[in-house]
């Protein structure tokens, strides 16, 4: 059995003249919590909608593990659970009836399974209430419940904590972790919240203006830099001195550090320069870039390009 839960190849979507997704190639492995990160309008939702068959790709491929025909594609998709944006239900029907109706469309989902998923999302006691009286958080949990109905191998969540209060966000994140650990699900979630991705995901795909800028572990994203921090006695003098030096980029990060982006050679030259000019160097060490910084670095570079 393949380790790949989902793969796209050069997936492209164009709405008229606007390129929403541009030759996107991603790979989600089994067991991943894959964070699909990007600012609003980056193409995240469009990509997820393409994966779920809501939007027709202009070109490119979407591959589920077993899929040689359109029938198998439909079958493979039947093992994918999803929430796209705010989950919507038939307001006059109870949560249970909504799930039962959706279960009947999912093929081979038993009534027992409906009760199971209600239990998982902790809505069993309120399952008889009509959805119209549900809070936003409850709807979100019901959304996850419906996504879990077909006992999926892969669950796709589009901005699952969007609009929730802190308590709701906490509960949802806890639930997502539980899905992975307890039910061995692969999760593909999109978000524009870096903290969410940082807390939940073991793999990240960063998308900006429809193009994939990065795919890999969050650690690799932040570690794959030449960023260093320098602590000196004269911060302003050091900044002025290093700013003039070729081959390195310097920035002032707060009151106590300078950040230098430079390779080993340039770093040695910078150190010599500071010491030669009478500036005391207390510390010169590799700096850990935050995901936010990495994200901004990648997206701003893309914009410059």
């Amino acid at each position: 059995m393949s380790d790949v839960a989902l793969q796209t190849e050069d997936l492209t979507k164009r709405f008229g003249r606007r390129m929403a997704v541009d030759r996107l190639t991603i790979r989600v492995d089994r067991g991943d919590i894959y964070g699909f990160l990007g600012p609003n309008g980056a193409g995240k939702s469009t990509t997820l909608r393409m994966l779920l068959g809501l939007v027709r790709p202009t070109s490119g491929l979407i591959k589920f593990p077993v899929q040689n025909s359109s029938w198998e594609y439909l079958r493979a998709r039947s093992r994918v659970g999803a929430i796209i944006e705010t989950p919507a239900f038939y307001e006059n029907l109870s949560a249970r009836r909504n799930l039962q109706l959706l279960a009947s469309l999912s093929g081979g989902v038993s009534k027992k399974r409906v009760e199971e998923v209600l239990e998982i999302v902790n809505l069993r006691e309120r399952a008889g209430d009509p959805v119209k009286v549900y809070s936003y958080g409850m709807r979100q949990r019901l959304g996850i419940a419906q996504a879990l109905l077909p006992t999926p191998q892969l669950i796709i969540l589009d901005e699952p904590t969007n609009g929730l209060d802190p308590q709701g966000i906490h509960e949802t994140r806890k639930l997502i972790r539980r899905l992975r650990h307890e039910f061995k699900l692969t999760v593909l979630l999109s978000s524009h919240l870096l903290t969410e991705i940082e807390q939940l995901c073991n793999r990240v795909g960063i998308i900006h203006e429809g193009r994939l800028l990065y795919e890999g572990g969050p650690e690799a994203l932040t570690a794959s830099t030449n960023l260093h921090k320098v602590r000196v006695d004269n911060l302003a003098g050091a900044f002025e001195l290093l700013s003039k030096e070729h081959g390195l980029s310097v920035s002032q990060n707060g009151a106590s550090f300078l950040r230098i982006d430079a390779d080993a050679e340039a770093l040695a030259r910078a150190n010599a320069l500071l010491v030669g000019n009478g500036i005391k160097v207390y510390e010169l060490s590799p700096a850990q870039e935050s995901l936010e910084e990495a994200f901004l670095r990648l997206t701003s570079r893309n914009e410059l390009n």
Binding site: T46, L52, L54, R75, V80, A88, Y90
Partner: protein, 283 residues
Amino acid sequence: MLTLLKLELEKLFRARSFYLSFLVLIAFVALMLWGFYTYAARKTGGEAVEQFKYTYESKQYFNGLTFALYSLLFSFTLLLPIFVSMSAGSQIAGEARGGTLRMICTRPISRASLVLSKFLVTALHAALLLSFFIGLNLIVGLIFVGWGNLELYPGPLNLVDAPGKIMRDDALMRFGYSVLSGTWALLVIAALALLCSVVFDSPAQAIVMTIAAYLTLYIVGRVEFFEHLRPYFFTTDMDFWRDVFKPEIPWRNLWHYACTCGAYTTGLLLATVVIFERKDIVT
């Protein structure tokens, strides 16, 4: 497909608008009864009798069957097409607006089956509305006006070219036929509304566009200025349903227009399926 159909049926029977449409029809029958009484009283007594010796609209002309026929013909002009437009127009666009469409479309079902099941449910709704309406009119006609033979003459209902009569039992059967022919004619509107429902993401827009198209063609088709265009309007073909009330049913003519309406319906449905399958659900 069967599951989808069951789902759509449940939604139909749980929708408030479904019951509301029947209530409006009851109100319409009451209005018709009032109008019928005043009209009949005016035409069969007082000045009318003094001025003219003979009238086709005599006391025996006005009976429960005539009442049901008047009521049916008037409601078919506007009321029933509006209900069918509302029912079909909100099918896809309503779900798109509510967000439930993406929920359904992420399930492993084909979009074509979804369209077809929604159409079948709309067709059922139309048939139920028509059966209910005709049944109600006949019962109200029996109780309040009394039964007799169905007499027809050229003019007011534009049904016949020469005066004629349909005997009571035969006339009752004709009302039965009209459920079938009327529903079949209304399916053209249903298919058009469903197409609009796929093209537009707002149910209101879909419904308004359907009704606007229907009314425009209906009215334009009756203005003498456009007489030569009339045969090309689907509203003209839809009129075939009334043929079942002619003393001699022109079967050949009826089948011709029934097939034409069927072609409109299936053609529009086919277009709906093709468009919906290619549609990006971004709502």
